[in-house]
């Protein structure tokens, strides 16, 4: 998806002025096949510790931040072209009704169009927010979130030294303290036959959202 966007911008004034950095909140061995299959021409970094999630307040994937030429944030962490259309999935066949497929494509296209507009026009793009607008959309300081990340870090360390039981307890405490973070939950969550945290426990958690979105709309 992101490589196609870069390809589209080749030969435009955005070439050389716009770049992508993808960060996998994942283990290197899990991320590797995807990176190798996609052959992206932008850096794909591995953040097994979720250090970036802690620093920037990312809670799910895909989420993105827009950073301008001077290193200033012009859009806060937000859903990057993903929509809640998947919630209409047939949970046995993993298929989506036509309307959901269309909604999914539409959300993705609207987001990539916004990224392209910014890549081409920089601060003149209507999608580049003012500092006040960005600040208003940031998550407020929450001591539970930093405590959650501390438990998460300890869970990773305990995994590394082979204490899976204690690790699980710290992953759980992390997720309980920061329930909005799907990235934290996924690390300690039960995995299905495909190795994904997309089984019954995932759907139960999605259903528990009720009217609240899994991917809050980016508000473009």
């Amino acid at each position: 998806m992101w490589q196609a966007l870069l390809d589209d911008l080749r030969g435009t004034p955005a070439e050389g002025r716009f770049t992508i950095v993808a960060v996998a909140l994942d283990q290197a061995q899990a991320a590797a096949p995807w990176v190798e299959a996609g052959k992206p021409q932008y850096p794909c970094l591995i953040d097994a510790d979720h250090h970036l999630a802690d620093l920037y307040g990312f809670v799910n994937v895909p989420q993105a931040v827009w950073i301008d030429e001077s290193g200033q944030i012009v859009r806060p962490p937000e859903s990057a072209g993903a929509s809640d259309a998947f919630r209409l999935m047939d949970r046995e066949k993993f298929t989506l009704p036509q309307s959901a497929l269309e909604a999914r494509v539409q959300t993705r296209e609207r987001y990539t169009a916004a990224v392209k507009d910014w890549a081409l026009n920089g601060s003149a793009s209507r999608f580049a927010l003012t500092p006040e607008q960005v600040r208003a959309r940031l998550r407020p300081a929450d001591p539970r979130e930093v405590l959650a990340h501390a438990h998460f870090t300890l869970g990773l360390h305990l995994t590394e030294v082979g204490d899976a039981n204690q690790a699980a307890s710290h992953f759980k405490q992390a997720s309980d303290l920061h329930p909005d973070s799907w990235a934290i939950w996924r690390r300690g969550a039960p995995k299905d036959a495909r190795g994904l945290a997309a089984g019954a426990a995932f759907w139960a958690r999605v259903d528990a959202l009720g009217d609240r979105p899994y991917y809050p709309p980016a508000g473009l």
Binding site: W2, A30, L45, L52, L55, D68, I73, W118, A150
Partner: protein, 137 residues
């Protein structure tokens, strides 16, 4: 042997005293593990300095060691440890995390790619950068 983790920095300290949620470290161990310097005026980093509260000095300071867990929590930062006090995480301050973000200057980081080569956010300075998360699941 005690493992202390702070930010992305993991330090193994051979000679510590850890028990019942207390972690007794000397000045050089604290500096090595956290980057904070225990001076006569308090625990300090850059322009920040948190005095050890005088009422607690008898409890939290013993000889050349400080109960870093107690002082860290007193500074409003989280501390978590495993069941046998052998691994410790000294967490960040929620306020300063939020303040850093609301400065809107994108926090610098350094992460490896699959080949192990390190990349920094500042490598892309001068370009508009879409910083995007993903995972394999």
């Amino acid at each position: 042997m005690t493992t202390v983790i702070h930010e992305q920095h993991k330090t193994v300290l051979p000679d510590t005293c850890a028990r019942n949620g207390q972690l007794w470290l000397d000045r050089s161990q604290i500096l090595e593990a956290t980057g904070w310097d225990w001076k006569p005026e308090g625990l300090c980093k850059d322009e920040l300095c948190f005095p050890v509260p005088p009422a607690r000095r008898g409890e939290w300071v013993q000889g050349d060691r400080l109960d870093l867990a107690a002082q860290w929590q007193h500074m409003g930062r989280p501390v978590v440890h495993d069941a046998n006090d052998s691994a410790w995480v000294f967490g960040a301050d929620a306020q300063s995390r939020a303040q850093t973000l609301s400065s809107l200057q994108a926090p610098e980081f350094e992460l490896p790619d699959l080949q192990g080569q390190l990349h920094r956010l500042s490598d892309t300075r001068g370009q508009r950068t879409l910083l995007v998360t993903w995972s394999s699941w």
